[in-house]
């Protein structure tokens, strides 16, 4: 009877009363965050659907006409095609190149961050579970790695690994995982000191149970926040690495590589080759960072004023 009425009450609860609903409501309370979120959704859709919505497949050489080369924005090509963002020297539509570039940039950012999250989380849990010398060794590695700028480590790694999307992802995983490990271990120390952990230990619950059932759910919000902001970092890092010629291969140019390719034409006034991919990169970064900032404010009560 009691169970039945409880379930009834639960069913009648509005979705805004769930923790997720509450977070969503306070997230969209900010106009800037809402706009950023919408922009981010549009960017993601554009990247995801690039093959469908891009006016041209920029890497299908049969579709390119050298006669359409180096056209400024809003030029009409030989077959009456409008190049909104202009073309490069091979007659490639820059808008299409940007959409495809976004695809590469975003997937590198998201994939590397996800793997780094999983790996970092695992290491953090291992560190927290075993403690002792395992913990000491893992944390020493984390400290060492975090004391060096990510770009330096990534550069050296890529010099060793060579170019390639998979290699960039691997390098980004390696430079990112330590953040999560440190966060979850830090959280583990904090949570361990809290009363419910104490209570769980008094109930003689196993270490693993405390870790997975109690610690993990409590650590998730800050981890999500870090992960979102870290996607932004990863995209920026990939762009910088590709710009240096250490990142993705020329066959799959990301936004960074597009900017780098446009660099030499900039001095002769073909600004659209660098400016538009840059604007796309900038918008992505700003949107990701603003969404991440707002998530941090919403999910992390400690940061609230």
């Amino acid at each position: 009877m009691a169970a039945k009425s409880a379930s009834l009450i639960r069913a009648r609860r509005l979705w805004t009363d769930t923790p997720f609903g509450e977070a969503a409501v306070s997230f969209f309370a900010s106009r800037i965050a809402t706009i950023s979120f919408i922009v981010l959704v549009i960017i993601c859709l554009g990247a995801l659907l690039a093959p469908l919505i891009a006016p041209q497949n920029p890497y299908d050489l049969t579709k390119l006409s050298i006669l359409d080369g180096e056209l400024p924005p809003f030029s009409v090509g030989g077959d009456g095609f409008l190049f909104i963002a202009g073309t490069d020297d091979q007659g490639r539509d820059i808008l299409s190149a940007i959409l495809y570039g976004l695809r590469t940039s975003l997937s590198v950012g998201v994939i590397s961050t996800s793997f780094a999250l999983v790996f970092g989380l695992t290491m953090g849990l291992i560190s927290g579970y075993f403690g002792g010398w395992v913990d000491a060794v893992i944390m020493r590695i984390v400290d060492l790695q975090l004391s060096f700028p990510a770009i330096l480590i990534a550069m050296i790694l890529l010099a060793v690994l060579g170019r390639g999307v998979d290699k960039v992802i691997l390098a980004l995983i390696i430079v990112q995982w330590a953040y999560y490990t440190r966060t979850i271990r830090g959280a583990a120390l904090v949570e361990r000191a809290k009363e419910y952990s104490e209570a769980a230990r008094c109930l003689a619950l196993s270490n693993a149970r405390i870790l997975f059932v109690h610690l993990l759910p409590n650590c998730l919000p800050p981890l999500i926040v870090i992960a979102v902001l870290q996607i932004g970092h990863a995209i920026a890092l990939e762009a910088a690495l590709s710009f240096l010629g250490l990142g993705v291969p020329v066959t799959e140019p990301s936004l960074g590589l597009l900017i780098s390719n446009g660099q030499e034409y900039m001095l002769s006034g073909q600004y659209w080759l660098t400016v538009f991919p840059g604007v796309a990169l900038l918008s992505t970064m700003v949107a990701v960072n603003l969404v991440g900032d707002q998530l941090r404010d919403v999910l992390n009560p400690r940061m609230k004023a």
């Binding site: 700028p149 050296i156 762009a239 240096l244 900017i259 900039m266 400016v275 840059g278």
Partner: protein, 325 residues
């Protein structure tokens, strides 16, 4: 203090050897620098000769041991490309990078602290909100792209400043520096601005957070109640309090500025260590890469140490506990 120092140094030595090992093995695995160095027409005999000269005919462990024994006496091997001691090559490029990084730090502080303090003490004004919005966008700007835009605006279209390279240098205490010549100054403005941008938003945020916290403190109210001028209150009372966290963070960030100067140096063809590093990575010039890493680690250790010292100097509370303990 001494224990702490030894600990630091030991830790750094460990990092050094770990990094050098990775680079050693890595570059050994990925390619043969000899193939890049010799001309395509070189005979097998000549290639073998070059290989012997560079010590690349030995087994990897032997090479590494050789390197280690050299490193302990301060010799990091000779560059494959320049035929000079790698340390010498790196140090020759070091002043340009240091100069650029310091100029960038200077700009970041000179812009960031006034803007941040203003945004902190007048947080309700429109200008303060504009500053914060700009700093959010600034934190998201891709450095290298901004560099290109700067070149496009100020060098290509306006023609005010040179687009790339380093200007004339003048020897200051035996170090070739360009900031003391007019030409040099013109050349360093854009790259320094570019590199600074990366830290300005950080300084603004730190200064704002600090100013907001301090301005509500009772000692500020007390100073106002004694009739001290706003200038004295901000420059005397407030600034000294917020400088502590800013100096700490900036000091620790100096290393990342040095590292990030790699990107800026590429954009502006700045003849510094970063440019050298990227070139050497492409040419598989292992001794240069290793020497760069060594120097970076040494710089990091020095920075961390210096920050600790400055911190103690700025905050009497810490000085006191150090004296007592």
């Amino acid at each position: 203090m001494i224990v702490y120092l030894i600990n630091r140094v030991g830790q750094s030595l460990f990092v050094l050897s770990a990094m050098s090992l990775i680079v050693f093995v890595g570059i050994y695995v990925i390619g043969d620098p000899v193939q890049i160095l010799v001309s395509p027409e070189a005979s097998a005999e000549e290639i073998a000769q070059v290989r012997r000269n560079l010590g690349l005919d030995l087994s990897l462990p032997t090479q590494y041991l050789r390197f280690l024994s050299g490193a302990t006496s301060g010799d990091l091997g000779s560059s494959f490309v320049y035929n000079e001691s790698a340390i010498v090559v790196i140090l020759r490029h070091f002043p340009a990078t240091l100069e650029l990084a310091l100029a960038a730090m200077f700009i970041a502080i000179a812009l960031g602290i006034p803007l941040g303090v203003w945004a902190g003490i007048r947080s309700e004004t429109f200008s303060a909100k504009a500053i914060m919005a700009a700093s959010t966008v600034g934190a998201s700007l891709p450095t290298f792209w901004v560099g290109l835009i700067l070149i496009m605006c100020f060098a290509v279209y306006l023609g005010w400043l040179p687009a790339s390279g380093r200007g004339a240098t003048r020897s200051v205490f035996g170090v070739e520096l360009s900031i003391f010549t007019r030409d040099g100054l013109a050349h360093i403005i854009l790259p320094a601005l570019n590199l600074a941008l990366f830290k300005v938003s950080l300084v603004i945020r730190l200064a704002r957070a600090g100013a907001r916290e301090i301005v509500g403190q009772e000692f500020i109210k007390f100073a106002r109640a004694t009739g001290q001028s706003p200038a004295r209150i901000v420059l005397g009372h407030l600034l000294k309090n917020i400088m502590i966290p800013i100096v700490t963070v900036l000091g620790l960030e100096f290393g990342s500025v040095l590292a990030f100067s790699v990107v800026t140096e590429r954009v502006f063809s700045w003849p510094g260590m970063g440019n050298l590093l990227v070139r050497s990575l492409f040419l598989l010039d292992r001794p240069i890469v290793v020497a760069y890493l060594m120097l970076t680690v040494v710089i990091f250790v020095v920075i961390n140490f210096t920050v600790d010292v400055i911190y103690t100097f700025l905050d009497p509370r810490i000085r006191f506990s150090a004296k007592a303990g």
